[in-house]
């Protein structure tokens, strides 16, 4: 019997998903450094253990994946950035015969709650975008070596790589069988990348996306679905040649290797969940994450549906003492440096929120500590941006902030005396849906900008958060950056950097009402509204991918033609045939 929540939906995730992994503990991937490339190429071999899915009930056949597989992939990519500065190219291969990867496991999707499916897709998308960022920003190129069929998410992984080599052996194919077989869409940016990235002609992309068995060697090459399609005999040589070319043209900046130690207990980020009926005024920090990040163990996996959404308190703290001033010092401090550790912790907390706390609707975001310490870190990162390690630390912050932009919760920043929304941490307030800044007559309450607000931490739309904020008057962004020194509440309000600046008399009530009101609104409408408002300005491939995921795919995922009792996804693998409602919208 499938566990169900109060809406009768199956419960998606196990009580708690852990997001930390380590190569020694990988179950589904092997991370290798072939000697023939002198350590400059990393080989990631997907060899999924069928019976070691994240939860029971769906064997991971044919190198299909679930969240657990993707968590390992995300970990491997992160480690290649920090721990392996020599690596200039990644090659993806399969440990299985005749199959590269058959994508996300259908039975896993079929037995998952909607929210889990959405978050699963979001996470896998973020991982693939991170792979593309490695190519664009870090000089680490990637190649998909398809010596077998790559279908669905398998081809989506391939298409996220810079280059694809597909073995021409009469059977290996690339395919998007989602529409013809399952009545859904490729959920990991596949359709968008077909036309936006690989620039496959739209009519050919249309044919490709409706043929379940996909397209093989020669035609896949003709249509631009792959870059090369050598025979089996020539396959290894073709892969090697492309990897050598990637290594040769990589401009990866030199930097020291930093081992990413297990995070253990949080030092800089705390996440606490309020239970229902809590007064909004005090927002006490409760239920801190335990040392293994398994905070959800405190909360039951299945919660009664409350009258209102739950609230979480997310607090990030500034460094407690001096931080590295140079890349060398950063390398010596390793993954304990605030510039690395704080963002990893924040990343973990955001994933915790998404997967393990579906009932949380509103997040109160705070930053505390000495702003000068954060600004010093920012200065170091800006000054040494040519260093490989510094660059990776900055890119880490950039991705974590994008993860925040992309989280389907309401974020309200609370800027109170003693707070530390400075430079890179100010981005968190700028990423929030609203920022409340206490205009206290007696206590100092200020925010600061730093060079990191000016460009190194862009959003998915390619703009900085300041640019996105001031689309109507770009001058305001420039003026904010020119301002040196702190801004108090009135100055911040005038500069458009905060939403409201209540005084000490109004503060408690204003904040309480804001949270209570937010908690009473439709979570679906809020998710759509927030996503629409967060990404003003231009579209990029990245914003399109997430927009289409949240709009089209998630709409289709809810429709009877996919998940109704006679829907294609519901009946996949079952003896009955789907019955579709052929009325178009």
């Amino acid at each position: 019997m499938q566990a169900q929540d109060a809406h009768g939906e199956p419960v998606g995730a196990a009580p708690s998903v852990r997001f930390e992994a380590h190569p020694e503990g990988y179950r589904h991937w092997r991370l290798e450094f072939p000697t023939e490339h002198g350590g400059m190429v990393a080989r990631l071999v997907l060899d999924v253990r069928e019976n070691e899915g994240l939860r029971p009930g769906y064997p991971l056949k044919l190198n299909s994946y679930d969240l657990g597989v993707d968590i390992e992939l995300a970990d491997a990519l992160l480690r290649l950035r920090f721990e392996h500065p020599k690596v200039r190219a990644i090659v993806f291969a399969s440990g299985k015969d005749r199959i590269f990867c058959s994508g996300a496991n259908i039975y896993m999707l079929g037995s998952s709650a909607h929210a889990f499916k959405v978050n699963f897709c979001k996470f896998t998308n973020e991982t693939r975008l991170a792979l593309e960022e490695m190519s664009a920003e870090s000089g680490i190129f990637s190649l998909a070596a398809l010596a077998g069929t790559a279908s669905g998410g398998g081809y989506e992984l391939a298409i996220a790589c810079d280059e694809i080599v597909l073995q021409d052996d009469g059977s290996s194919a690339v395919s998007f069988p989602e529409t013809p077989l399952l009545g859904v869409l490729p959920g990991t940016g596949g359709l968008t990348r077909l036309v936006d990235k690989r620039k496959v002609r739209r009519d050919l992309a249309d044919v490709f996306s409706t043929v379940a068995e996909g397209v093989r060697g020669k035609r896949a090459l003709e249509w631009g679905l792959v870059d090369e399609s050598p025979s089996k005999k020539d396959f290894d040589a073709a892969v090697r040649r492309r990897l050598e070319a990637m290594v040769a043209r990589s401009k990866r900046r030199p930097g020291a290797a930093v081992v990413l130690e297990p995070l253990g207990e949080s030092r800089y980020v705390s996440l606490a969940i309020d239970s229902e009926g809590e007064s909004a005024g005090v927002l006490p920090a409760r239920r801190p994450i335990d040392s293994e990040g398994e905070s959800a163990g405190v909360l039951p996996a299945r919660r009664p549906i409350d009258a209102k959404a739950h609230r979480a308190n997310l607090t990030i703290r500034a460094p407690e003492g001096p931080e590295p001033q140079t890349p060398d010092e950063l390398a010596r401090a390793g993954s304990n440096a605030w510039a690395i550790r704080a963002w990893r912790e924040l990343d973990r907390a955001l994933l915790e929120l998404r997967f393990n706390h579906p009932g949380v609707g509103v997040v109160a975001v705070r930053a505390t500590g000495d702003p000068e310490r954060v600004l010093a870190v920012d200065r170091m990162l800006a000054q040494h941006c040519e260093d490989g390690l510094v660059r990776e630390a900055t890119l880490l912050a950039k991705r974590v902030l994008k993860r925040l932009d992309n989280s389907a919760k309401s974020f309200f920043a609370l800027i109170e005396p003693g707070s530390c929304f400075a430079g890179s941490l100010l981005e968190i307030a700028l990423a929030s849906d609203r920022a409340y800044m206490l205009d206290h007559p007696d206590e100092k309450n200020e925010i600061w900008l730093s060079p990191l607000n000016a460009g190194p931490l862009p959003m998915s739309n390619g703009l900085t958060r300041l640019q996105s904020r001031f689309l109507r008057d770009p001058e305001l962004a420039r003026r904010a950056l020119e301002h040196s020194g702190p801004l108090d509440a009135q100055a911040a309000l005038a500069a458009g950097l905060v939403t409201f600046a209540p005084d000490d008399i109004d503060w408690d009530d204003e904040v309480r009402i804001a949270f209570e009101e937010r908690a009473s609104l439709s979570p679906d409408a809020l998710t759509g509204m927030e996503a629409s408002l967060r990404y003003g300005g231009p579209e990029t491939m990245e914003t399109k991918i997430f927009a289409r995921l949240t709009a089209w795919q998630n709409w289709i995922f809810q429709r009877p033609n996919a998940v109704g009792p006679r829907g294609a996804l519901s009946l996949y693998g079952k003896p009955e045939r789907p019955e579709l409602d052929f009325n178009r919208t």
Binding site: D168, A212, E213, S231, K232, Y572, K574, P575
Partner: protein, 476 residues
Amino acid sequence: MSSVNSERIPNNVHLGDDKRLQRALEAWQPNYIQWWREMGPSGFQEDLVYLRTAVGVDADGWAHFDYVKMPDYRWGIFLADRVPGRTIGFGDAYGQPAWQQVPGEHRNALRRLIVTQGDTEPASVEQQRMLGQSCPSMYDLRNLFQVNVEEGRHLWAMVYLLHSFFGRDGREEAEELLARRSGDSSKPRMLGAFNEPCTDWLSFFMFTFFTDRDGKFQLLALAESGFDPLSRTTRFMLTEEAHHMFVGETGVLRIVERTAQAMAESKKDHPDDVRKLGVVDFPTLQKYLNLWYSLSLDLFGGEISSNAASFFATGLKGRAKEEQFDDHSALTGAYSMDVPKEGTFERQEVPLRNAMNEVLRDAYVDDCQRGVDKWNRAIAAHGVPVRLTLPSRRFHRHIGIYAGLHADPDGNLLTREAWDARRETWLPGEADCAFVRNLMTRAVLDPRQMANWIGPPKQGIKGRPIDFEYVRHCEG
């Protein structure tokens, strides 16, 4: 003059009036002939072979015997006669008129079924191309070539469907059928058993008994198809497939009889001694049986299969002799099977439609058992106490729920180490293969002779004597 005409290509599909089919075949036929010359029987292409050619589907037409050079063989296109008012006999479309055209929604699935079936036909010709060099008799040589040209015709039959009903995709798939090569790791045939080497006559007879019998059951299931041209094509192919079954069953039977006879006469029963008599010892026979039977079981696909369920639901592929069953929708039934779970087996009720591969495999296993029983009766008739057996269907599997397990021929699970240690007691090892190869080094091309390791057939072909010159071999 085009080689594509009804004289050159016997047919009952109105080839003369079908411009589309003519155009497609004109492009394909020269490549086919080139493929046949490259990959067909090696060393006998210029010989005159006494072959049966189908020139029509009626009693007179389907078995026309004459000498012919194989590259000049008239590969024809025949469909069994149309059954007036035929309706779909199973699945969700049960009772509706059978389709004379491919329904758009089933186009890809049908093409896949036809290509998969079609791919096996040239594959077996490729696997067997060197066998003429070690034939045990001219009679057997001719039977090999008959099987080969008919596999070639079965390829034509599938290509006809691809050309006539699947447009450009179909034509491309037809070309690909000539491009893949059995056992060539860079362009292998689609299914495992069709990439295994079949280079000795013991393997050939086992192949025609076990692997061609898979073909028979696949054809029986496709003969039920709601797509009428596929049904009619496969029904006609089944008449030819019966000959392949005959070659395999009597081939193994004659080997078994010869061995039993030699053992009885010499009163020797130790395998080493039996081998010294120049015949195939029973342990070796059993190993070859185990190998080809298990490879052939894989061809039926996974025990629990969403593809099988979908093929059945959509009326594309039924069960063998669907009319024997009462419930043609198969929507409510279940199939009990032992599913591996944590080192043991658990009885599971699988929805019947998802178990259709296993239903077909059951019929196949029964059919194989009947043949094995015949062989055992022949052994018993010589007073030899040995019996051949079919191994458990869990043994040596590479596809389906038993793939990757280490089960012995009785179906008991062993550790990998224990299994590996005993592998060569169950499957042919290098020494066994070398023994069989050495036994069959020379082609017997004198019509009056028969290799020592095989008994004579009961009768010749089409009333001809056994020592008839079935192949007029040009020396050199």
